[in-house]
Point group: C2
Chain length 328, copies 2
Amino acid sequence: MTQEHESTTPGEWVTYRPGIKVLDCTVRDGGLVNEHQFTDEFVKGVYAACVAAGVDYMELGYKGAKRLYSPTVHGKWKHCTEDDMRAIVGENPTSLKLSAMADADRCDYKTDILPKKDSVIDLIRVACYIHQLPLAMDMIKDATDKGYETTLNIMALSTVQEAEIRTALAEVAKGPVNVLYVVDSYGSLYTEQVDAYTKLFLEYTAGTGKHVGMHAHNNQQLAYANTIQSIIAGANWLDATINGLGRGAGNCQMELLLGFLKNPKFKLRPILEAIRDHFVPLSKQIEWGYNLPYMVTGLLNQHPREAIEWLDGPKRDDFVAFYDYMME
Amino acid sequence: MTQEHESTTPGEWVTYRPGIKVLDCTVRDGGLVNEHQFTDEFVKGVYAACVAAGVDYMELGYKGAKRLYSPTVHGKWKHCTEDDMRAIVGENPTSLKLSAMADADRCDYKTDILPKKDSVIDLIRVACYIHQLPLAMDMIKDATDKGYETTLNIMALSTVQEAEIRTALAEVAKGPVNVLYVVDSYGSLYTEQVDAYTKLFLEYTAGTGKHVGMHAHNNQQLAYANTIQSIIAGANWLDATINGLGRGAGNCQMELLLGFLKNPKFKLRPILEAIRDHFVPLSKQIEWGYNLPYMVTGLLNQHPREAIEWLDGPKRDDFVAFYDYMME
């Protein structure tokens, strides 16, 4: 395969597309299940698995403001200080790049994100809702100026009208961001919609050298299928989590994605080892993954928060009552 | 929507395609998990749910030869006698049609399948491997002559070369069968392959009045996604099971499928009720659904039997060892 095919040629994935990047966001998105209270052993296990599996990026957590997220409630991966990160990765002498997410209005980015030369982080991913776009653009500029790669993840796309998305994409595409992500926050998208979103994003990245990414949730058991669909449509950056760990129904499973990708640099076995050694034990303590209340919120294009609350309550197995409640 | 759109026009499913038929095979495929040892209460629950949900067909089980499947080992849904079926459905005074599956070489069809006028069954589904096609064609002729609707389900398609499939389809399309099924026995197919198979089958049904169906397995969490893809490609008959109950990783979940289909005759709530009342209790007794060993067999395009055995053994949680074993 030649480099001219590297970016977004559909069909090339049947062999493989060298430009595809896999980003593990297990600790970051999974931390939304347990307030980021993972043991160092667990995070080291995820890191080692990502390195061994040939994953391109690992997202360690959020750069969350301590004034908003108290370290007595939230674990260290809500803040991702250099000390905490280095306790896991040292100077990260590997080919795995590291990422942290900065949420608009929830990150003191000017002070908390250090110049790249002082950080083990390689990539800052800026997450925002559509109305926070101007702030997000400033965050991207700040991170770029400090020396980082950047992505923009506009959340809850499925609740935004196409005209607004187009305006946002046109604006953002003028700036320095490296990757624009299609984010299915509610796990509500069907594959034809993923196809359309990916192609819409590609309209605005064409000729800019920027890439399109996909971040899927598994409310309707479509996270993996939708990720494949985004590849076919031309997305090159793919989010996944080991064992699908993530808020609510969780994310695209890394093990399914690496089983599918044909680039020989990707190895499935280290991911299976990590699941056996770290995720099966974790599953005795916290709960994640596809479940009927999440299906209902996905189907209705709603945030999973009400399903999460329902599953913590006394009527957790009465998903008929939950369905009735959501349909009121 | 006019009738001219009824058959296979892509895109029409965004509103809805009246020609789409949903077939519940919960008891038939699910019975492969527990030797068809369901209680009458359970089967009545599935039947009532299918009626209330507007499902088109319910498959009660197999017409398995008693010389091969002893009634002391296998439950009554391995044989589907008229007495046993009528104990559940009476004279079936509903719009739900009933089906039974007849396996090539495992069914004494000439004697055990009664004339339609003496049976509550409406549809005989003939399952075979490709080398059993001549026998399957005789079984279809026999069932047609007796007054039944028929389908042909060629199993393990993913192990058959396209030239053989084409020969089979050309031959079968000359006969009386009503529906030709794409059967992903191993749960190994990706959506692009499902698209290609569905279109291949439609080449041979074009102009015949026959339909194409989809029967998916969930080894790679693609059963539902692949079923949607088959709809887009033009399949009109869709297999699903309540709660995904079925051999190994199970099947396309009825609850996901009915949530997706927009025909107002389909109701999701009765399916959720059935899961709460019958499937949650059953899940304490038997196991089904997506699991890593099934992912591995799906990925490798293998029958799930070795994964099923592994999960019954002492090393069930060591899926790394299973992966190594399958990769030898």
